[in-house]
Symmetry: C2
Subunit: 403 residues, 2 copies
Amino acid sequence: MTWVDAAEGGFGVHHLPYGAFSTTDDTSVRLGVRIGDHVLDLRKLAANGLVDTAVAAALSTETLNAFMSLGRSAWDATRSRLQEILTDATFQTDVSPLLTPVGDVSLHMPFDPADYVDFYSSEHHATNVGRMFRPDGDALMPNWKHIPIGYHGRSGTLIPSGSDIVRPTGQRRTPDGDIIFGASVRLDIEAEVGFVVGVPSQRGQRVSVDDFADVVFGTVLVNDWSARDIQAWEYQPLGPFLGKSFATSIGSWVTPLAALSAAQVPAPTQDPQVQPYLAEANRYAYDLSISVEWNGTTVANPPFASMYWTPAQQLAHLTVNGASVRSGDFYASGTVSGPEKEQRGSFLELSWAGKEPVKLDDGSTRTFLEDGDTVVLKATAPGPDGSVIELGEVSGTIKPALS
Amino acid sequence: MTWVDAAEGGFGVHHLPYGAFSTTDDTSVRLGVRIGDHVLDLRKLAANGLVDTAVAAALSTETLNAFMSLGRSAWDATRSRLQEILTDATFQTDVSPLLTPVGDVSLHMPFDPADYVDFYSSEHHATNVGRMFRPDGDALMPNWKHIPIGYHGRSGTLIPSGSDIVRPTGQRRTPDGDIIFGASVRLDIEAEVGFVVGVPSQRGQRVSVDDFADVVFGTVLVNDWSARDIQAWEYQPLGPFLGKSFATSIGSWVTPLAALSAAQVPAPTQDPQVQPYLAEANRYAYDLSISVEWNGTTVANPPFASMYWTPAQQLAHLTVNGASVRSGDFYASGTVSGPEKEQRGSFLELSWAGKEPVKLDDGSTRTFLEDGDTVVLKATAPGPDGSVIELGEVSGTIKPALS
């Protein structure tokens, strides 16, 4: 039980996600940890000598990268120390002044992204997309159950929740075959879950599936905004590019993997058998229940536990060729879609490529995003002892295209 | 005429490429400029008060990023000042002690790469690859002459010339359809030319084709090592991933665009007409003559001036959707292949997918790379007044795969 007021919900002392914030009083960007509706200033906590000197310098920077690179023992020790400080009432007098209401802070990118990889690991999503785009072929590509398919995205346009999304412009081909230039008319979302690498690896070495929880620091929700018309015209043969690169929004609070131990559930059985480097002795998924809110209407509840490939397999795959990872490397799951229609994590799937409009609570209908629309992704997971973990939400509002 | 000894070749005072170096005496990484067979220490030059105070701090860092972000007027002023210092004999006494023989330095990544994009802009290369992989279809995809096709690569495995290349392992499908795991048996090169962004842009804004020389700082040679067997099995539908991400080697000396003004030649005519955002009032290519040396044998001479899409068009395209660029963003041309067989910039094309072995001077033959093989890319371009610019070479040697 924490001494902080009103902190027994999804951001209780069992959670403690990390972020980067500033205030109007002090516009410098510093690290904080969220407890209930407050943010604890870690730079001040370090300056007051309340954390281990080994982590104090890392906690006094502007992003999580230095702290994340220290490794799991430092993460665990810091988490334990923060739980001690926030539950032992003898700290209340000293630490209360270091708390700021979360409504009074501006949140920034919690880490400096190195490389960004986007996977494609939902069997239901890949099957839906395959059915729409290749109606006469097999819905899944022959490689899909052998490889966690993925590609590199643009790390420079990873942006924190709340950032506006300017509708992208680009080339597309009309149904008549004309090639035109203009604002995307099929602007979509992809509800995903992302993982942040803490500990770097060396080029020429591999990260095994067993090393996942020692290398990956934490997780955030992701909205991988996608311009379907731009993507459809550009993606052959080298994959998505401008249809995705204009913006990818992430949650501003990084939930440490340590907070999700109670959320581990068995991952789907894989058939055919995977290559040994992808085989997991302890195969588990995270039971995150995602909600997709479109102008306030919940239009989908994608279940993350249904993903065919786990984040441990994704990490092992992306390094099996000897590619190194850096602190701040970020990889996302791909659109999370469950087997049911109301579990689909993109509007492309929910509206079946625009053929089945989605009804919102205000009586309007939608196929793809309109200017002024706001999308909010939220997620909860089981916490310890019947508690709940609430991931940091990801919101974004569509602004008109540049002329 | 410079007062530095033996500096009238491809690295004369008309060139002055920038790099990052260290020495055994001083293992700290600092910036330098190459003049002939020497490196001028820019950190010491700045400490001695010999450059403008506005650039002194930027020139005293470990990478070019800060200097590059200052913009073209700072680049031009610094270049003029360096030319003055290196040609006016009154500086010789003070500046000679700041020169180190290039053979005595270790070279590092000259810039900290932000995002890395790889294009596919040679019509001859794209046509050759299309003929090999889609013998029954059109060699060029329908989008190819409308869009400078590209995709994001892995910036964390951009490495400087001379770094070893560990043969990658991964999944591939055998001709019999078996899916196996092991070392790549079709390890290839791609001879490319890369461009380094200096001046950042804002998300939601575009960089026009006319802004190219104000935004891009300079150029380097690139070897985009490619495991063709891994790539062939993984690349549908999201593009190349592990087949490319293990290593991409770049030249250690960044040639400023300002050094290449005499190398501008007309770029190939484009038909059909491109969209207005890709139309260039002053359309030019850079006349770089590349050589590909395989264990000392020159096996190809790809002509960079033959590329269908120019670097200005590539930059305009990658930002047309509102994607921002950062100082250190890097984009490469794609494999440079000319119309003739001996102008092809990959071994895939030179050996026609392994069917036509390449003969080396030692009497051996090759299709793809063997362990121990060394590839060196070099390039020259016309400099002012009949001089020659020699780009920093890119070398790499293949080491055996991890077991």
